[in-house]
């Protein structure tokens, strides 16, 4: 009987309908729930469990070692249980830190004339993006809820559109590295200017303006 109850508890967690007890069993079946007709659905638990997997994948791709893995484990727990908090963005910051502490992933192999870390970098760019979007979606999903596949497909379409640009930039950087391995200081200046310009142009003005103080009644 306990096994039956445990099995139904697990099924409920994944949004599946409960199974009836065996014939002749004295247990009381679970109370019926409200059902919504949907065109294919994924249990909310799957959506909630995707970000920690991506955290681990991102840590592995960014070259986490030693103590970094403890932080990764903590981050995985944090994004699983508190997806509303900005843990994912902080984790991405740590990925950048770990990447910064290691050799350049996009360094040119002078002998072969290629960029050996290109695929790894491409995977990391994709993982980081999916982590942020997946955590943002998981913040709106309860453990026992159901997520329609149409929602995931639409999210995937948006991610693909953004990734097309991001991966193109990555290929451009790799091509520039292969085309002119040295003497790219001018590019660095251009990049810094571009970042400042982007920051001033794209960030909404109201985010940069101090809000007026409320006049007390």
């Amino acid at each position: 009987m306990r096994l039956w109850a445990l099995r139904n508890r697990l099924r409920e967690l994944f949004g599946l309908p409960p199974v009836p007890p065996r014939p002749g069993s004295a247990v009381v079946p679970a109370a019926p729930r409200v059902e919504v007709a949907m065109a294919g659905a994924v249990p909310g638990a799957v959506v909630r469990l995707l970000p920690p997997v991506l955290v681990v994948a991102g840590a592995a791709l960014s070259g986490a070692t030693g103590f970094a893995w403890y932080l990764t484990a903590l981050a995985a727990i944090a994004v699983t249980w508190w997806p509303r908090y900005p843990w994912a963005a902080i984790v991405v910051g740590f990925f950048g830190l770990w990447l910064f502490g290691r050799d350049d992933l996009l360094a040119l192999d002078a002998v072969a004339g290629t960029v050996p870390g290109l695929w790894r970098m491409a995977a990391l760019v994709l993982t980081v993006h999916m982590l942020l979007v997946g955590t943002a979606l998981a913040a709106h999903v309860a453990w026992r809820s159901l997520v329609e596949t149409g929602v995931l497909l639409r999210g995937a379409r948006t991610v693909l559109a953004t990734q097309a640009i991001a991966q193109s930039v990555l290929l451009l950087v790799a091509w520039l590295r292969a085309w002119q391995p040295v003497g790219q200081e001018w590019l660095r200046l251009v990049a810094v200017a571009a970042v400042v310009g982007v920051a001033l142009l794209v960030v909404p003005r109201e985010w940069l303006v101090r809000r007026p103080r409320r006049v007390p009644d």
């Binding site: 910051g93 760019v125 026992r144 809820s145 790219q184 660095r188 990049a191």
Partner: protein, 445 residues
């Protein structure tokens, strides 16, 4: 229904707000880009490209206005509560988060895709009948893959009346006296239209058409005396359904206090009473008898006796609207019923009032059938005090029902379907027995 569809030309509303995750993603992306650019590390800078693009596109393309939800026509039957919910979302909405629930069923949360307009069907299994509330709908739009969110809206649940479903009952007993001069049943009075009463010598006033020529030829070959067939008159039965709406208890005694809600797949005593009363009403009205409804729980006048299909609709509607109303005063006298009626009392008999009424009617000479509609009580999981309490209640009830049976009241237990059918069939055969006929309806010569 608190909200309808947005009127044409309505202002688009405020843009949806961005979540904290988006702000942090923009900040971290800009830091990564800056550090990567300053340090000449394109790998670090590239980490921030995709999050920045995603965040900014979510900010720029965030929807305006709110998600509208409207309850469409509901198709509710006994067994399934169903409702269609129409959703309208502004352009750019990735998903709509819905929280649908009823007090008995709890809440279910889903994230659905709404391409501007969509209709979704919500169902819940329930065996409950009578006035019911459908689903409370709470909704929130989500945009930018979860990075922006709209305002939360709420739809009050619609109210519906779920009509009871009857059970098949092959035979029902008749009262000892029939009313009127028309109907489907043989009366005890001599008259026209009924079964054979006797064969009698022709008397002044008898119609020549009533002469039984075969009997006359056999008994009086020389035609000195004519014999006529005399028949019974026809009549209709008058039945009064007395429903005790003061109690509405489920099979789980821990819910009897009213603090915990009854499971939706558990039929309550009032559900059983509605079903039982409707089954009885259908059976009598189908053969043209008169049926009235009285409610022990209220002081209002009940449904007057009537016959026909429309009366059945009125009876069903009256039964469906029964519900416990406050704490009614104790009745001293039973409601009036016409003489010769057959009275059905549908009650849990958890207190003495319904049983007292049944005994009073029986003393007045009415035929009374007491239908016990208390569901089969589940005693699993009760603690010692609850178990003791339910045991005392059971003893009291059994004594009460035994006193009723001793007073000449037929006692039926409705949850025992086979037993009830058998008892009613036996009562039906007994009630149709006339002097000179056996139980099987064979005339003794």
């Amino acid at each position: 229904m608190t909200q309808g569809l947005p009127p044409d030309g309505a202002p688009p509303g405020q843009p949806w707000w961005v979540t904290g995750s988006l702000v942090w993603a923009v900040a971290v992306s800009l830091v990564l880009l800056s550090v990567g650019a300053l340090a000449g590390r394109p790998d670090v800078a590239l980490l921030g490209v995709a999050p920045l693009l995603a965040s900014l596109s979510a900010t720029w393309l965030r929807p305006r206005g709110q998600v509208w939800a409207d309850s469409a026509q509901s198709e509710t039957t006994a067994g399934v509560l169903a409702q269609r919910v129409q959703l309208s979302a502004p352009p750019g909405c990735t998903a709509v988060r819905l929280r649908l629930g009823r007090p008995e069923h709890g809440f279910s949360e889903v994230l659905v895709h709404v391409p501007l307009h969509r209709e979704i069907e919500v169902t819940a299994r329930s065996v409950r009948t009578g006035p019911q509330q459908l689903f409370r709908v709470e909704h929130q739009g989500i945009g930018g893959g979860g990075l922006t969110a709209g305002p939360v809206g709420e739809e009050a649940p619609d109210a519906v009346v779920v009509l009871p479903r009857s059970r098949t009952m092959p035979a029902l007993p008749l009262p000892s006296r029939m009313r009127g001069l028309t109907g489907q049943h043989d009366s005890r009075r001599p008259g026209q239209g009924g079964g054979l009463r006797d064969v009698h010598p022709f008397l002044p006033g008898d119609s020549i058409r009533q002469v039984d020529w075969k009997v006359t030829a056999r008994r009086s070959p020389n035609l000195e005396q004519l014999y006529v067939r005399r028949t019974m008159a026809l009549g209709e039965a008058a039945v009064v359904l007395v429903v005790d709406s003061r109690d509405d208890v489920g099979p789980d005694p821990t819910t009897w206090s009213g603090i915990r809600s009854i499971r939706p797949d558990d039929a309550t005593s009032l559900d059983l009473a509605r079903q039982a009363a409707m089954t009885v009403a259908e059976g009598y009205l189908a053969v043209g008898d008169r049926v009235a409804v009285e409610d022990l729980g209220v002081r209002r006048r009940g449904l007057r006796p009537g016959t026909g299909r429309r009366q059945l609709d009125r009876v069903v509607q009256q039964l469906a609207l029964l519900r416990p109303e406050g704490d009614p005063r104790r009745r001293i006298r039973p409601p009036r019923v016409s003489a010769g009626s057959l009275v059905y009392v549908f009650s849990t008999f958890l207190d003495a009032e319904a049983a007292d009424m049944a005994r009073a009617w029986r003393r007045m000479g009415q035929g009374v059938i007491a239908v016990d509609v208390l569901p089969n009580v589940r005693t699993r999981g009760l603690d010692a005090r609850q178990w003791l309490a339910i045991r005392l209640i059971r003893i009291e009830r059994e004594d009460r029902l035994a006193e009723l049976a001793a007073a000449g009241v037929e006692v039926l237990r409705w949850p025992d379907a086979a037993g009830t059918t058998e008892r009613l069939q036996l009562a039906s055969r007994r009630s149709r027995r006339r002097p000179g006929r056996s139980m099987a309806g064979v005339v003794h010569r």
